[in-house]
């Protein structure tokens, strides 16, 4: 019997990532002085992890490729990451691989117990990755992130227990399998599990930990944490909403609308780029939650949106990496000495986040608005549109300074992560229809 052929595709990816982690851990002493070799081992493990997933279904492929892209950008930024103790690069690379493992498990798990373990693996690696940033603020932010993650994980475990009580198994919830006597317990269980997943998406009631983590961590690592969490959370919530639309859909729509309003006002009030991006991520998470509550069309739109959003935000964080963990005030962007490549990358990312037409961000927002219009009608869509339009106001504030920087001649180290993420954003902007078709295939619509 061929043992290797009987391993399901996501587990093959998990095995390769854990093997890569072990190689890095065994060579920690040697690799701490040779970041290029370290990044090479990490990149090879991530590319290897993408291979077995290609044999899976469309949803597996989309989620593994998304997580691998996030991991690749994070890994390419490891040699220049702003660490408190710069000998810790091997640990950071190992945590990126293990965090990708957790995200892949969360997105592709066959039952909820594995999904919960994947979520906790991702949370724990994310908290440590944030904590290793330079200065005292990352440590505090990571602790806050960790405590809130523990609380939401406790909710998830309670939900798992209630679901086990109602159905007798850890399978993903499906309509019609539960005894009507237990439907009350089943509903509470599903909602608590949804709460646990929603923490990774950073929607309204659970946003303080992620907000601090995205703001205070080293930019490259914060970008990875944000990207991997969002992809895994959206896919997991899409699977939960597909099986349990009755309690999940109205609540997703509700917290989605509140998050859009909250994140938009929060982002408008900010005075610096990183905090603005962190708040705007709440508004974008709200858009995704809104779409997840809008039936199969909406779930496909949410997956399409998250892939584009994640690549764009990775580009933004990659462009800001290497300049320290401190804030980047709007008025001082010009004096930061960003190289032309980085300034151009950040410009492209901000244009796409604002949803200016030729960029992929436009198609992503359009897909969500379309799904919301056909499922919910005028008022919810109006809130989403206003949130999207207000995005132009805050995203484009640093733009004049950035455009001036693209003409300046500041030499800097090569930035492979910026090139990689930038190329991905440009490709998605050229072929949005292909990505949308893949997302619809993944959701089975």
């Amino acid at each position: 019997m061929n043992v290797l052929a009987s391993i399901p595709p996501p587990l093959g990816s998990v095995l390769i990532l854990v093997l890569g982690t072990l190689v890095i851990l065994l060579l920690t002493g040697r690799l701490s002085n040779s970041p290029t070799i370290l990044a090479t081992i990490g990149v090879l493990s991530l590319l290897g992890a993408a291979l077995p997933a290609m044999g899976g279904d469309a949803l597996t492929r989309v989620s593994v490729l998304g997580v691998v892209a996030a991991g690749l950008v994070g890994m390419l930024l490891v040699p220049s990451a702003e660490l408190h103790n710069s000998t810790q690069r091997p640990e950071v690379a190992a945590l990126i691989l293990l965090g990708s493992t957790g995200a892949i498990v969360l997105a592709t798990a066959g039952e909820l117990l594995s999904a919960a373990l994947g979520l906790e693996t991702l949370s724990l690696s994310a908290a440590v990755l944030v904590a290793l940033g330079r200065g005292a603020r990352p440590l505090e932010a990571a602790f806050r992130y960790f405590v809130l993650a523990a609380i939401s994980f406790a909710a998830l475990v309670y939900g798992l227990g209630l679901l086990l009580l109602a159905t007798g198994s850890f399978a993903w919830p499906r309509p019609g399998v539960v005894d009507p006597t237990y439907s009350y317990i089943w509903t509470i269980g599903v909602l608590l599990i949804g709460l646990g997943f929603a923490y990774k998406l950073a929607v309204f009631p659970l946003l303080w930990g992620p907000l601090d983590a995205y703001t205070a961590g080293a930019p490259g690592l914060a970008g990875f944490v944000m990207a991997a969490s969002k992809i895994a959370a959206v896919v997991a919530l899409a699977r939960l909403a597909a099986g349990a639309a009755v309690p999940m859909a109205p609540i997703l729509i509700g917290i989605g609308l509140v998050s859009i309003i909250w994140g938009t006002f929060g982002a408008l009030a900010q005075r610096e780029v990183r905090r603005m991006l962190a708040y705007s991520t709440v508004a974008n998470a709200g858009l995704m939650a809104l779409a997840l509550g809008c039936g199969p069309e909406g779930r496909a739109a949410a997956i399409f949106f998250v892939v584009i959003y994640v690549l764009t935000i990775l580009l933004a964080f990659a462009a800001m990496a290497g300049r320290g963990t401190g804030p980047l005030p709007f008025g001082e962007v010009r004096g930061e000495g960003l190289s032309a490549t980085r300034a151009l990358g950040l410009t492209l990312a901000l244009l796409s986040l604002a949803g200016i037409p030729p960029t992929p961000g436009f198609w992503a927002k359009l897909a969500i608005l379309d799904a919301s219009w056909s499922a919910l009608g005028f008022w919810p869509t109006l809130v989403a549109v206003i949130g999207g339009v207000a995005g132009v106001l805050y995203y484009l504030r640093p733009l004049p300074d950035l455009l001036a920087l693209t003409r300046a001649h500041v030499s800097s180290a090569p930035a492979p992560a910026v090139w990689f993420a930038g190329a991905a954003v440009v490709v998605l902007g050229l072929a949005p229809g292909f990505a949308y078709a893949v997302a619809r295939l993944a959701i089975g619509g």
């Binding site: 002085n33 103790n85 293990l98 373990l117 440590v128 290793l132």
Partner: protein
């Protein structure tokens, strides 16, 4: 309401109070003792729910091994091992608690050992069958989770370690005395690691 309600309520209440005590205790020793009470209460809850094996594991592993390990660590803290003069009230309460424990054990023996249920839901065989049967994938995935926890704990501890080129004194001065005490063993450990991996440089 069946006759398990009172024991469950009692164990839950003590578990909650001791959990709050772990967080609020000002001295590490008190926190560890509260943690011990908490883990024993959780074991009692497992026992009431007829999960004998889990209860036994909770007592052996958490109360027996991990909390004692914590106590050793606390004793190694700068002021952890120093005990002030023991007040009389504490001696009296310790004697009362010990006597109560003995009385409870004697009462338990007098009632007789509980008979094992016919088909225990939480028995060794049932747990083994589910861990290595339907739950094999999540069981193996805990390996990755534990690996993250180990790396995370070591990495956060090593975070404030001085880098090989930097002066230890200047870094320690900027981060306060706590960092300084934590640095001392870290520096030697790191130096040993570097010496072993010497030729790589």
């Amino acid at each position: 309401m069946n006759n398990a309600f009172l024991p469950i309520a009692l164990a839950c209440a003590v578990a909650l109070v001791s959990a709050v005590g772990v967080i609020l205790a000002r001295r590490p020793v008190h926190a560890v003792v509260a943690l011990l009470a908490h883990s024993l209460c959780v074991a009692a809850l497992f026992l009431i729910m007829a999960a004998d094996l889990v209860a036994l594991g909770q007592v052996l592993i958490y109360s027996g091994a991990i909390v004692v390990l914590f106590l050793f660590v606390v004793a190694l803290l700068p002021h952890g091992g120093i005990e002030s003069v023991v007040p009389t009230g504490r001696v009296v309460s310790a004697v009362v608690a010990g006597a109560a424990l003995l009385a409870a054990l004697a009462a338990g023996l007098a009632v007789g050992a509980p008979t094992a249920p016919e088909n225990p839901a939480g028995g060794v065989e049932a747990i083994g069958r589910s861990l290595f049967g339907p739950l094999i994938v999540p069981f193996e995935l805990t390996a990755a989770l534990l690996l993250v926890a180990i790396i995370g704990a070591v990495a956060i501890w090593r975070r404030q370690e001085p880098e090989p080129g930097a002066k230890a004194s200047s870094r320690a001065a900027s981060e306060g005395s706590l960092a300084h005490t934590a640095d001392a063993p870290g520096a030697t450990g790191r130096q040993r690691l570097l010496d072993e991996g010497g030729p790589a440089r």
